[in-house]
């Protein structure tokens, strides 16, 4: 197993803070969107794009690229800012999120934005799409890996379990799926809205290799991603235990920020908190 040094981890943590600042600014400017689930998903997607995936922002259609499918499409601000920081398009574009005539639609669209693989927003589709990409990879003997991130509430959709069964049946070990397990969905706690526990045992019983980690610990994320990529004959599921609204004190575990953007005061406060964290991480570098 690969060992990740402190500096790599520190740099990724710093990138994650930068992304969180983008998310706050984008949603404040757009006056709409989903802060909670964007902030909770950041760390794993940062680890993928900046440390794990084989991808080239200059060649977004490279047939050998690893793919990331954001099934929880409402976390688009996280994906968009990570794609921009990776170099898929100018960071300046982020300012136009959700505006007319803009490449950044409210939810991802595959042909609108360079680097976006699948059009999502209606929950429960992404893992099925990943199955198709993975089957094509097997058919063509390609070495690429397919990543898919779902929300925890999203797994209430029946299609997710159709996809889970098919991935397991076809032994799609070139898929690593992730669940952003933040325990909150619009109507409240996931266990009150529609019980999901045990998430781990559910996926295991569907024939998946399941791993459960702290979804904000970059080192744990990278180690789990390596384990998943090396695991043969079964698809892998990484359950990311996360905090909705992670990184902004008053948004953390606050379901009111699922789909409500920050106002000016909240934005200023959030940026202040994140900038403090950013400075601390920079000093440690």
């Amino acid at each position: 197993m690969k060992n990740y040094d402190e500096k790599t981890i520190n740099e990724l943590e710093l990138t994650a803070v930068k992304i969180r600042k983008h998310i706050i600014e984008m949603l404040y400017r757009a006056k709409s969107g989903h802060p909670g689930g964007s902030l909770s998903a950041v760390d794993a997607i940062v680890a993928l794009y900046f440390a794990k995936m084989k991808h080239n922002p200059k060649k977004p259609d490279d047939p050998n690229r690893d793919r990331f499918i954001l099934s929880k499409g409402h976390a688009a601000p996280a994906l968009y800012s990570i794609l921009a920081e990776s170099g898929y398009f100018p960071v300046d574009e982020l300012k136009k999120l959700r505006e007319a005539d803009c490449m950044l639609q409210g939810h991802p669209v595959c042909y609108c934005t360079p680097g976006v693989e699948a059009s999502t927003g209606s929950l429960g589709h992404g893992l099925s799409f990943a199955n198709g990409v993975a089957l094509a990879g097997k058919l063509d003997n390609k070495k690429y890996h397919v990543y898919c991130m779902m929300g925890d509430g999203e797994t209430g959709e029946g299609q997710v379990w159709e996809a889970a069964a098919v991935a397991s049946h076809y032994k799609l070990d070139n898929i690593t799926a992730m669940i952003d397990r933040n325990f909150l969905q619009i109507d409240g706690n996931t266990e009150d809205v529609l019980r999901l526990e045990s998430v781990y045992r559910r996926w295991r019983s569907f024939g998946w290799h399941a791993i459960e980690i702290n979804g904000h610990d970059i080192k744990q994320i990278l180690t789990a991603l390596d384990e998943a990529a090396d695991h043969k004959n079964q698809p892998s599921m990484i359950i990311l235990n996360t905090v909705k609204g992670k990184g902004v004190s008053f948004m953390e575990n606050n379901v009111d920020f699922h789909g409500v953007p920050p106002n000016e005061m909240e934005r200023n406060l959030a940026i202040k908190e994140l900038t403090l964290l950013e400075k601390k991480l920079e000093a440690a570098l």
Partner: protein, 316 residues
């Protein structure tokens, strides 16, 4: 009346898939536990590694096809028309139509001539559901020969497409040579006539040809149009028929809402063309179990009723 040659369009589909599989190495086929009925099993036997049995899980099947298409594959997806559209509308909307994915949905068992399985399996809304989706091409081939040709055209043209055929054996209308110039989006003038135009698709084309012979004996000259592509509809041809014959009957094994008849009516309204119109189809009801011929008679979708409507239209 000469004895008709009956060929099942589903077999024509299976045969065309095998031909295409040889030609296009990137063509793949998906089915949801109905490969024996949809005839994708013919492809599965020939190219087992390019056939994906997806089980009774249609939603996943559609989105998976979109994933395959994103990697340059040409996926043909098959199941019964009820499960291929209504059950998976959201998957088709997001992953196929909105995403402009090169996915070909080929459904069988469309319409009420499915017969004894009853209304649960008689899909009469699919053309409407697919027609309302932006980017979607919608096709209903009329016989086995045309089905084969259409399947080839679907594979060669990029974009989301939906096609449906019925369950039953169907009388052969065309020889391959008749269809040399067939194009998706262009209706065909099968027989000319000047008193009225009968525009139909799918299983209804053959009965309209029969009706034409009956009408001819009674001095009524009907033009027969095979409008295999419901979307994009051949607007020019519809306008030509309206202007030249002044009367149109549309016939489809589908609800009168949202399908071929609706598409024709929309053109007449939009272009402000004065033309008599009767739309034949299922009149906004669910049908029932029964022998196909009995059902087509009860729900007024056969040669007899086409003749009746034509006479009514020409007389008025």
């Amino acid at each position: 009346m000469s004895k008709k040659t009956m060929v099942n369009p589903r077999n024509a589909y299976g045969k065309a898939l095998i031909e295409l599989g040889k030609k296009h190495k990137n063509l793949v086929v998906l089915d949801a536990d109905l490969s024996k009925s949809t005839k994708t099993i013919m492809f599965a036997k020939e190219y087992p590694n390019r056939f994906f049995e997806m089980g009774i899980a249609e939603a996943n099947m559609i989105s998976t096809a979109a994933g395959l298409a994103s990697c340059g594959k040409i996926p043909f997806v098959s199941t019964f028309a009820v499960f291929a559209t209504g059950r998976v509308y959201d998957q088709i909307r997001m992953d196929v139509a909105y995403s402009k994915a090169n996915v070909k949905i080929f459904a069988t068992h469309g319409g009420i001539s499915v017969g004894k399985d009853g209304a649960s399996h008689q899909m009469i809304e699919d053309l409407a559901l697919m027609r309302v989706l932006p980017n979607m091409t919608v096709i209903a081939p009329s016989d086995a020969t045309q089905t084969g040709q259409i399947v080839h055209l679907m594979a060669e043209k990029v974009g989301p497409m939906y096609a449906r055929v019925g369950r039953a054996d169907a009388p052969l209308i065309y020889h391959k040579d008749d269809l040399k110039d067939i194009k998706i989006g262009e209706g065909m003038i099968v027989k000319d006539g000047s008193d009225l135009s009968i525009i139909s698709c799918g299983t209804m084309v053959e009965p309209t040809i029969e009706a034409r012979s009956t009408l001819k004996k009674q001095g009524i000259k009907a033009r027969i149009i095979d409008m295999h592509t419901i979307k994009p509809i051949d607007k020019k041809l519809v306008m030509k028929c309206a202007k030249e014959t002044g009367a149109i009957i549309t016939a489809e094994e589908h609800s009168i809402i949202g399908g071929l008849g609706a598409a024709v009516a929309e053109i007449l309204a939009d272009e402000n063309i004065s033309c008599k119109l009767i739309r034949m189809g299922i009149k906004d009801i669910f049908c029932e179990s029964g022998d196909p011929a009995t059902l087509l008679e009860k729900y007024e979708l056969n040669e007899k009723h086409i003749v009746k409507n034509a006479k009514k239209l020409v007389k008025n």
